[in-house]
Amino acid sequence: MTSMVGLIVNPIAGMGGSVGLKGTDGDEVVRRARELGAIPRAGARAAAALEELAGAGLDVRLVTCAGDMGENAALTAHMVPEIVFRPATPGDTSSDDTRQAARAMLDAGVDLLVFAGGDGTARDIVEAVGEAVPVVAVPAGVKIHSAVYAVNPRAAGDLLVAVLRSGSARTREAEVMDVDEDAVRDGRLATRLYGYLRVPDDARLVQAGKVRSRSEDATADLLAAAVADSMEPGTTYILGPGTTIRRIARRLGFEGTLLGVDVVRDGALVAADVGERQLLEHVGQARSARIVVTPIGGQGYLFGRGNQQISARVIRATGFDGVIVVATADKLAALAGRPLLVDTDDEDLNRMLSGYIPVVTGRGRRAMYPVAYPRDER
């Protein structure tokens, strides 16, 4: 029996990340991302997922949108799609196009909808189709708090194949979350629930929702103090995003960038909210450098989600012995036994970072915790 699969790519998803923007929501941000030299990556990630499908030899009709919203990714994966939606301004698509495309797929009668994007994209999809059709989501966005996404593009492809092979996959509701921008403006990292999508019920392949760490403030402050007190003079520290890291900044006496990356030396802020290019400059000039990151709560991503500024090149320039991972014990517990994850665009680096890594959990306290490269997960 022929299955009909719909494909929607949000071509601008993820562009903000490598240039230090907090997402790619809004026209102004997209313009700035392009000015800063951001390269679109959602199409390539969608194509990586589709390659798994193309190689599986299944009887599939692929319906998609014209151009960068799907057609090009399908062709890259050597699949010939049918076009059911054409954006009005192909070079400048918007969230409205995503919603219209999703409705067009539903009208066409797709059995399964594949989309590539971030939290903003997931919000558009849930708004358009709700739980009417199961989805497989390819992670391509800057922020991924939503629990609907596969752990990486290839896992999305595997999931897609597994669902189509089985014919009647069990699905479950998964949260579509996004950063609450009102809260961020108030300096809090809070997420808001925007709805549920139906995803294949396969815990190995679908990311767990990002949980806000519930640890006591005092515990997190003690952890931050321990890290701040251990900083060595003359060393350049790259501080990643998140509330755990911002507590370190506060301990040092400045307000860290909640969703951005800051550079610190000798206890003082050197540069705030910087992108990959500036990070490479700072690391290049530094006598020694360290990267301080915390995993995304509930998901465990150390690199590759929400901190793309700290790119593979930045990590390589720093040296991966220079990576300091910090998390409260409660935050590790919220991973429910899953390993920490790295998903940079550099597969060799992902492999090198895998294994066991000491996670600073408090003053004089570390956990020896596994790190996996999502590809190894399966």
């Binding site: 402050d221 014990a329 517990a333 004089g364 306290r365 570390r366 956990a367 020896m368």
Partner: protein
Amino acid sequence: MTARRRQGQLRERFHQAAWQEPLVIHTGQPGRRGMLLPDAGPEIRAAAGDVLSPVPNSLRRAEPPGLPELSQPEVVRHYTRLSQMVLANNVSTSLGLGTTTMKYNPVVNELLSRSPKLTELHPDQDESTMQGILELLYRFSAILAEVSGMERFTFQPAGGSQGILANALMMRAYHASRGEAEQRDEVITTIFSHPANAAAPATIGYKVITLYPGPDGIPELDALRAAAGPRTAGLMMTNPEDTGIFNPRVAEYVEVVHAAGGLCAYDQANANSILGVTRARDAGFDMCQFNLHKTFGVPHGCMGGAVGATGVQPALVPFLPSPTVEFDGTRYYLDADRPLSVGAVRSGLGNIGSTLKAYAWVCAMGAEGLRDAAHMAVLNNNYLLQKVLAIPGASLSFAATNPTRRLEQARYSWEQMAAETGIHTTSVHDRMIDYGVQGYFSSHHPWLVPEPFTLEPTESTSQEELDEFAAVLGRVVDEAHQNPGIFASAPHNSTAGAPVRQGFKPAMTWQAFEAIRDTAGT
């Protein structure tokens, strides 16, 4: 013929006494006395003189102490009422307190420990007048050496954590004797070991590395290999862990740490599944400790104090706390002249009354009896386990990935039940008290197992008690589905209301306390 209680019968109309009893200091009247002593009479007065005159003025109170002034019946009633408001081990079954080993504590042993022969003993009196208790300590050390495979034991530590601390101190002293104390500044433990295995070494300045469980619930050997090295002072861990899972490869863990130059301490606080079955030495451990107030039939806490009996292999005997009890063939004596010793970790001979009770318990049980106790504890736990897992929404941690038998305890989860009903493990705890059983233990922190509860029936619960306890949990889960509102203000039939008021956040650190104090302005 008397009718027996049916198996699993609930106490539907349980209601505990609630006396609204004030603090004793707020009761009584000035001048009221519980005992009126007769006048000494002129002869005695003349012979005794002014008995207070030798007390220097600096030690005398200007005002008499503000003690409560009550009659004897008032005192008896006050404390009897308080005792009625407690769900103690002698009143209700406490098989829900996993990791804590709340077994029956034979009442007859109270008679021994309350004998004036013991209560009138002073640790500094001449050794020739305390040969009996020294002999008991010496013999008990030999018994525990047999049980554990260790060489010698000390009974000085006044609790499990202090026993672990003694082991950490000996670890440090051992490395100091080899000139490696500075270099070896890290202790490795596991997240499902008792938290004292992290806290005690941290107290004396060790950095602590914690291993997390792998998919089967057992800490991963590769993680240990990644953690062990030239900075490793030692490994401090429990087995079986809080999950009730016994780590069958523990000897390999010991090998990894020994190869790195570290020592290994086995926390056998709760040895209730392994008495007479497996020994610390057989796994290669250098030291271990038993909590006499858990495994060895001694009450916990207020009825006499705890003992963390701590034992070591021959090479570590010189480091044991001082004084040790020695025997020269004719007499027993205390030896404090031990230059490598970590010194005293507790004054005197420790909580000697509890040590005596444990000795009496072991003598009553005998070697076979110790092993029978372990077998019965495991059997009881697995009987209860089947009953609990028959309750909808209950699950056993790591059940899918580790089907091995749980030993004397098991860590369960209400994750599914909580997802279906919105009733959490803490609420189940508060409601089950309404059926006359003690609330259960959830888990040490952090909660790696969601919605956790940990049960440990020990060898001294009957089948009917196990059935009753499982029936209480089953009833409470029914209520979670049918009548979730009842949890909001539970317990209803117990003395207390919800034990922690809404929004109450205890200060867990000094900084947190200061923050609360500063906010409160007090």
